[in-house]
Symmetry: C2
Subunit: 334 residues, 2 copies
């Protein structure tokens, strides 16, 4: 089969690879579309010890089952594979399973990803494509589940309704925009500021999201003002912006993985009773809720997605790396 | 009146000061006992910009009302003075009031503290001493309210009962011991590890608390093991111990103010959905609950408190600074 293979830091090669083999309890899916995630970019930069070259990246996947019990069905994949038996899996928090693996990773266990013509996947990770959802748009389900989980984690912490909160979203990438769309269109939040240094991307977000889209120097980013801040970037600088702008008793939801360490204002966090929650996954229930949201078009048009061909994937990675992409999401079509 | 005055970094002088004057809505309390808090030590080290010399420190206070509407009553003071009218004060989160001040601080507003013969206090901050509580022990109510608030913040985050959780308490000072006692005696938590580098203090904690009392190199401090970790120290190193030992989906409660910054493993926090909550105060309701707990002796004997005379307070500060104190709490008697 053809596949886009991550072969070394900032290097992807479109080449011939062996087809995946079917095993008991799993299926082979012929991939239709596969989205590029920030964590794929993180791997591309050589900074992810769970994704070591050579490896087929990609975990936001739609397609048609080629071999397996759902053969012929159009499907979306939940790329998060968990053990099913541990305390977390038994209590609806399977995303915290110690044995969890994600498609497109090879440490500690290899699972080739979706930037290829075919991918293998356990049957319980296969969801039927809702009839009203386009198969090429469908990979957006995965980051939408991430954003839904993040927004609802925040919602549980708040002492008031999300409708009445002031929300700051740091980052106008897919997770930032999706968090904003869920806040606005599903949770009816009326005061949202989204911040990104990339003006083209802000303009793109503004077309779809009812929010103030501003650059980091804007006066709308008021100190100790926001009830909830979503840091969808995860840089030392964005975390510092988050702790600076959060109001006393507020909640920071941290979804980014860009910089693993760096200093932070723990004094403010302590004196002002700030809650900081890290998240980057979702439960099976979140994934199902997301499919329902997308099937009903509850987050509106998905025209902000840009499509490229798989064989041109290397160029897409280069453009994202170079900050040349306006679209918050690029999906590769196979 | 006589007072112990903080006059400069690591300097306290017992000297004559002017008596406080009574104003409308306030009372003058003749102080019986006043505890030394970690935040007083922080000021003593010249590291608290809210406590600038010259200043009378101390905010854990019991005494007898000398002038005011409760004259003659034996009382305990809630040193947290709030505006009463803001959103926080109206919603039972008055400890987050933007105008809050604490006795024994002078920035932005001066409120002399309790290391003196007399102190002034708004009437609504005065609580009658429960009959079964010794007036000299009574200042422990304030740090007990801090610990109760911290434990109950953690309790709200957990997906199971505190009884069934594995808890790590970092620090064997008053807040560490009190958090442990509340976990053990009130919340019935059965697996508690308390860690401190000071062996004498560990031995003292062991006499009162049903927990494994260990030094930081102990094998009982297992990586990614604890459902909840209380960092009652707030050093970069203790926060790193907290994030290392917390299990996926777990909660870190951060009560210390020792080091305001420093790096942290935000990658683990994100990948493992860790909740980090800063806290150092309590609500009025927490303070009332605490008086009830202490009046019923629910956290057991308070014989771990050591008493000194106010005029010997400077020496007590020196001994705490030098790590020479075994007792988790020193209360100065006036």
């Amino acid at each position: 089969m053809h596949a886009l293979v991550y072969t070394g830091t900032q290097e992807l090669i479109y080449r011939e690879e062996k087809n995946p083999k079917i095993v008991n309890g799993e299926s082979i899916v012929k991939v239709s579309a596969s989205g590029i995630c920030g964590s794929d970019m993180h791997a591309y930069h050589g900074k992810d010890n769970r994704r070591v070259p050579p490896l087929i990246l990609g975990h936001e996947i739609s397609g048609t089952v080629d071999k397996g019990k759902f053969a012929g069905k159009k499907v979306i994949l939940n790329p998060l594979i968990t053990c099913g038996g541990c305390e977390y899996c038994s209590n609806g928090r399977e995303h915290l399973c110690g044995k969890r693996i994600i498609l497109g990773m090879n440490k500690p266990i290899e699972r080739q990803g979706g930037f290829a013509e075919y991918v293998s996947i356990p049957d319980q990770n296969i969801y039927e494509l809702p009839k009203t959802l386009d198969i090429n748009e469908a990979p957006i389900a995965e980051p939408t589940a991430v954003a839904l989980h993040a927004v609802e984690l925040g919602e549980m912490e708040l002492s008031k309704s999300l409708k009445d909160t002031k929300a700051l979203v740091i980052g106008g990438g897919a997770i930032g925009l999706l968090s904003g769309l869920i806040l606005s269109k599903i949770k009816k939040c009326e005061e949202i500021v989204i911040v990104d240094p990339n003006k083209n991307r802000l303009r793109e977000c503004s077309k779809y999201l009812n929010a103030s889209a501003v650059d980091p120097s804007s006066k709308k980013i008021i100190e100790s003002y926001f009830d909830i801040v979503f840091d969808t970037v995860g840089l030392e600088a964005t975390r510092q912006q988050a702790i600076k702008t959060i109001r006393p008793g507020g909640t920071i939801i941290h979804i980014g993985l860009t910089q693993p360490g760096g200093t932070f204002d723990f004094r403010k966090a302590t004196l002002q009773e700030i809650t900081f929650i890290g998240t980057y996954c979702y439960t099976n229930k979140d994934f199902e809720k997301t499919l329902n949201i997308l099937s009903k078009k509850e987050i509106g048009s998905l025209d902000w997605i840009e499509y490229r061909k798989l064989k041109e994937g290397s160029r897409a990675f280069k453009e994202i790396h170079g900050g040349l992409c306006t679209a918050p999401k690029i999906i590769l079509l196979i």
